[in-house]
């Protein structure tokens, strides 16, 4: 046989095999058997039990298999309407985060600068006595607690009851202040009630997805796959990416518009201008359901300690709004934002076309913004102008970063001004809370406490002397980090940290309490679409590790608050949830009872008469809405507010000395400060360290090659990073981007603590830096 013959045979064989594979992948769609992989069954030799994912605010339902006391496998829950069986790489490997060899399993107390292992009970005694001592020495408001959107609902509720109902102290914050508070104030100012009116069903109905400063391909990957699926099923569906940097989302989009940092304000107004100019607005909807408002301008950036901004809203009309928008013609906005006038007109057409359903999506790009409340308002304006809101597929959708930023921080209200239902400044709300808590109403302080940045500033100034941190890592994530790291290490500051691994925050702790993580205890989370999800304890926590909420209750008991917390470690999660649900009772925020949540893969609120409300503020879908169409009952007039908000500059822009923009953010592999995901080998190997993304043209000009060392310097600090040139994200010329997950490259040494004066949420996306080859 000749060589050629042999090779020809090999070729024919190969072709045949390839064809078989081609047939194989087409024969059976991958989801064909989803129904059989049902919840609670034995499948593949495992018994699967449900839990929401530990990571982002998407709130995927997962199924976890346990063997011999260890979590051994994960898959997406096919019964969950969120992810329908899918997961992302973090979710699939989430259980590995429980098993890092350096898990904190015992309490530690710092004595003479050294951490000493002590029995947990002794550490809890010390925490209780320090709270008492601080209150006596420095006043009751010298104590603060800083929690998290990764707190379970019961743990956040326990924290709220302990701080506000027992200690009479409103210095209670959650790290959602750094991620979602602009979304909250956006909702509150436009609709008078927090959280989205729509739900994830909108992904199946929308014809146009507009992502505003948002990279869901990496940050909300499962929702992004739902968008791609929708696009595949209907070629008419468009994905428009509006961003300051080219990301994986941009590559999958039909149109990618790059705007200059902070000019999203102008862009939104430009689209509104074009909608009104062409008469594409819904006149009837505007007349019946919308009030035009304007507030103060040039509102500052919260850069000075104790800066206290109060807006003074004034009702106005459409005529004034039209006149205001004359400054935002597409040509003028092109000059400000860099987005082509023709693209602005196209965007206006998409929003304005009555035959298209539009979903706007955003997360940190719009929220971590010194005009975060404003840009939230301005995107709502587009949906209010066109009446594309609160109906299937017409949905301004604020995506959440953390698994329970909604469920815990925003709904339970672990924020300085909030109560589980309502605000501390409202007498009726205080009475409501005090009655359920069984405490005298006078005990609840009517004055809001300090917001997150001010708590850390307070540690620096000395008005905060005791801080208890749970489920978050502020010594990586606070902006302008050096000031606050120096602050917590000052004399006579006492820091308690409850965590699962050693972090830069445990390094500054006086007491470290080991926490039970995720499925090591019973809990509930609430995701972006108002869905509450329950899970049972599936494995035991290591060593003396204890749920965060139970740590608080142990301390509360030591301080004499036994009546307020009459629960056991085994039942406190269930009991506190049931008590919490009483705060929210009613058709506007009713929560599903525990027995329903135990069975279902999550239940969205408002849960009324055994049924979830998918779209709020519309009589067709929402039992609380009066009439057969829209009823924005969050506002006293039952109308939504359309806001006149101008484009303003950020506090710091590039100049001759610091000529580059610095933006920070995440990558798909890592969760926040990386303390969990970096301990998962698969994820760590994929992205082992932080880097600085440099635009290829800038890199060429400065002689920077991929992997070279690059020094970034801002007015706050300086740091050297390895360069990433033309990597997964590409910033524009004159911009750099750094992910913040890596504790060895603390990029927040460089960032600015300027924040939105309304939401008090810092802007991690914009500050000025110098870039040099190191």
């Amino acid at each position: 046989m000749t060589e050629i013959d042999t090779n020809r045979r090999a070729f024919v064989k190969m072709m045949a095999s390839t064809t078989a594979m081609a047939a194989a992948v087409e024969l059976v769609p991958g989801v064909a058997f989803a129904g059989e992989a049902r919840q609670g069954g034995i499948d593949g030799g495992y018994k699967w039990q449900k839990t929401p994912c530990r990571f982002c605010g998407t709130g995927c339902g997962l199924l976890v298999a346990v063997k011999d006391g260890m979590a051994v496998a994960v898959k997406g829950d096919p019964a969950s309407p969120v992810n329908r069986g899918m997961a992302c790489v973090k979710g699939f490997h989430s259980i590995l985060a429980l098993y890092g060899k350096d898990r904190l399993t015992n309490a530690m107390v710092r004595r003479n600068g050294k951490l000493v292992r002590v029995p947990l009970a002794e550490a809890l005694d010390l925490v209780a006595s320090k709270i008492k001592e601080t209150q006596e020495k420095h006043g009751k408001n010298a104590v603060a607690m800083y929690g998290s959107g990764q707190w379970t609902i019961p743990d956040g509720y326990v924290a709220s009851k302990f701080m506000k109902g027992c200690l009479g102290n409103n210095n209670l914050e959650g790290n959602a202040r750094l991620c979602m508070s602009s979304a909250v104030t956006g909702f509150m100012t436009s609709f008078g009630m927090d959280e989205p009116m729509g739900c994830y069903d909108d992904f199946d109905h929308a014809d146009v997805f507009v992502t505003w400063g948002n990279n869901p391909a990496e940050m909300h990957p499962v929702l992004f796959s739902r968008m791609l699926e929708r696009k595949q099923n209907d070629p008419k569906v468009k994905l428009i990416d509006l961003s300051t940097r080219t990301t994986r989302t941009s590559h999958a989009s039909d149109l990618h518009c790059i705007f200059k940092p902070n000019t999203d304000l102008a862009l939104a107004n430009g689209i509104a201008h074009e909608i009104l100019k062409n008469g594409w607005h819904d006149k009837r909807f505007l007349a019946d359901h919308v009030i035009v408002k304007k507030g103060k301008t040039n509102i500052g950036y919260g850069l000075v300690d104790k800066e206290n901004f109060k807006d003074e809203p004034v009702a106005t009309d459409l005529a004034e709004y039209k006149k205001f928008l004359e400054d935002y013609t597409p040509e003028k906005v092109e000059k400000i934002s860099g987005v082509k006038a023709s693209d602005i007109r196209y965007l206006a057409r998409l929003y304005g076309d009555p035959s298209r359903k539009v979903m706007s999506l955003w997360c940190m790009g719009m929220n971590q913004h010194t005009r975060g409340t404003w840009i939230n308002n301005l995107v709502y304006n587009l949906h209010l102008l066109t009446g594309k809101i609160a109906t299937p597929g017409n949905s301004p959708f604020s995506l959440t970063g953390q698994p329970s930023a909604c469920g815990t921080v925003r709904e339970v209200g672990t924020l300085a001004h909030r109560l589980p239902h309502g605000v501390v400044t409202n007498e009726h709300d205080r009475k409501h809370a005090a009655e359920i808590w069984g405490v005298p109403v006078e005990r609840i302080d009517p004055k809001p406490g300090l917001h997150t940045v001010e708590i850390f500033r307070g540690l620096d100034r000395g008005d905060i002397r005791f801080l208890w941190v749970q489920v978050t890592n502020p010594m990586v994530t606070m902006p302008k980090l050096k000031r606050y790291r120096d602050a917590v290490q000052k004399e006579d500051r006492f820091i308690v940290v409850s965590d699962v691994y050693p972090t830069p925050t445990t390094e500054i702790a006086d007491v470290i309490l080991p926490s039970s993580m995720w499925i090591e205890r019973e809990g509930l989370y609430g995701n972006s679409e108002r869905r509450t999800q329950h899970w049972n304890q599936l494995v035991d926590p290591p060593g003396e590790a204890m749920p965060d909420g139970w740590q608080i209750i142990e301390v509360a008991h030591r301080l004499g608050f036994k009546k307020e917390f009459p629960w056991t470690r085994a039942n406190y999660a269930a009991e506190s949830y049931t008590e919490y649900a009483r705060h929210q009772a009613g058709d506007k925020h009713g929560m599903a009872p525990l027995e329903v949540l135990r069975k279902e893969p999550g239940v969205p609120w408002p849960y009324v008469n055994g049924k979830s409300t998918k779209w709020r503020y519309h009589g067709k879908y929402d039992p609380a809405a009066k009439g057969s169409s829209w009823d924005f009952y969050g506002n006293p007039e039952h109308k939504a507010y359309l806001w006149i908000r101008p484009y303003e500059l950020p506090p710091e822009s590039p100049d001759a000395q610091y000529p580059f923009w610095l933006c920070t953010g995440r990558v798909i592999e890592h969760w926040h400060s990386g303390s969990m995901t970096r301990r998962i080998p698969v994820l760590h190997r994929a992205v082992p360290n932080a880097y600085v993304e440099v635009n290829p043209a800038d890199a060429k000009r400065m002689g920077i090659k991929d992997g070279d060392k690059v020094r970034l310097t801002s007015r706050r600090g300086t740091m050297v990073f390895p360069a990433s040139v033309d990597g997964r994200g590409v910033p524009e010329p004159g911009q750099v981007f750094v992910p913040f997950f890596d504790e060895t490259y603390l990029v927040n040494e460089l960032t600015l603590d300027g924040h939105c004066p309304i939401s008090k949420q810092p802007d991690y996306k914009k500050c000025a830096v110098r870039v040099e080859k190191a």
Partner: protein, 219 residues
């Protein structure tokens, strides 16, 4: 030999191209090669009309390049059923989402000369945001040592009696497409079926979804 490899590569690429057209023309098979047309028939009927193709497929061991084994298959997953990581370098081009870059090789499989082996086809080509679940990196540990222990692997050849068909020992969620992993030259020899032409796999192979058996007391 190199020239022949090039021919093989071009052939494989042409074939992928054909599949692409097949997809975009909504079922029309015009301009599609015979072999692909057969594949199309298989979609309609679940069985090859041309039995000749089936005979050729039966011998689907890799004729060139390196074989994959269960060991390498398992080494690329944190646990059985976890998404495998990407064991080869990926350029920024490969990182693009919503495109067909990964799927160029992993939709239909085929011999990849630069790696001297067959690319395994994905069981779920309809999902195109590949890097949602699959990330690069092979070998090495985490930032801090992990105490994670892989759970035991499922028994590969569980049969109720020696000549019975083996049962499906794993979850089939997102992996319900048996032939993607169990047939063809990219399949590990240990789990490669001897009869890929019989595409109705679950006629004989059933998943184990319950523990124990069923019995009833006489009343």
């Amino acid at each position: 030999m190199n020239r022949v490899l090039l021919v093989v590569w071009v052939g494989a690429m042409l074939l992928s191209g054909c599949r692409e057209r097949d997809r975009t023309t909504d079922g029309a098979v015009e301009g599609v090669s015979d072999s692909v047309a057969r594949a199309h028939d298989a979609e309609q009927g679940g069985m090859y009309r041309d039995l000749q193709a089936g005979y050729r497929l039966a011998d689907s061991a890799p004729s060139i390049g390196k074989s994959r084994t269960m060991e390498s298959h398992r080494a690329r997953r944190a646990f059985d059923g976890a998404p495998p990581w990407i064991p080869h370098p990926v350029s920024e081009e490969n990182e693009r989402t919503g495109t067909l870059n990964c799927l160029n090789c992993h939709r239909d499989g085929g011999y990849v000369p630069s790696m001297d082996r067959y690319a395994p086809p994905t069981p779920h080509p309809e999902w195109t945001s590949c890097r949602q679940c699959h990330v690069p990196g092979d070998g090495g540990d985490a930032f801090k040592p992990s105490g994670w222990k892989k759970p035991p692997h499922p028994v590969l050849d569980a049969r109720s009696q020696p000549t019975g068909p083996p049962m499906i020992p794993h979850s089939i969620q997102y992996r319900g497409n048996c032939l993607a992993c169990h047939a063809g030259p990219s399949a590990p020899a240990e789990i490669r079926t001897s009869h890929p032409e019989r595409t109705n796999c679950r006629q004989c192979h059933v998943p184990s979804v319950a523990e124990g058996g069923f019995a009833k007391d006489l009343k």
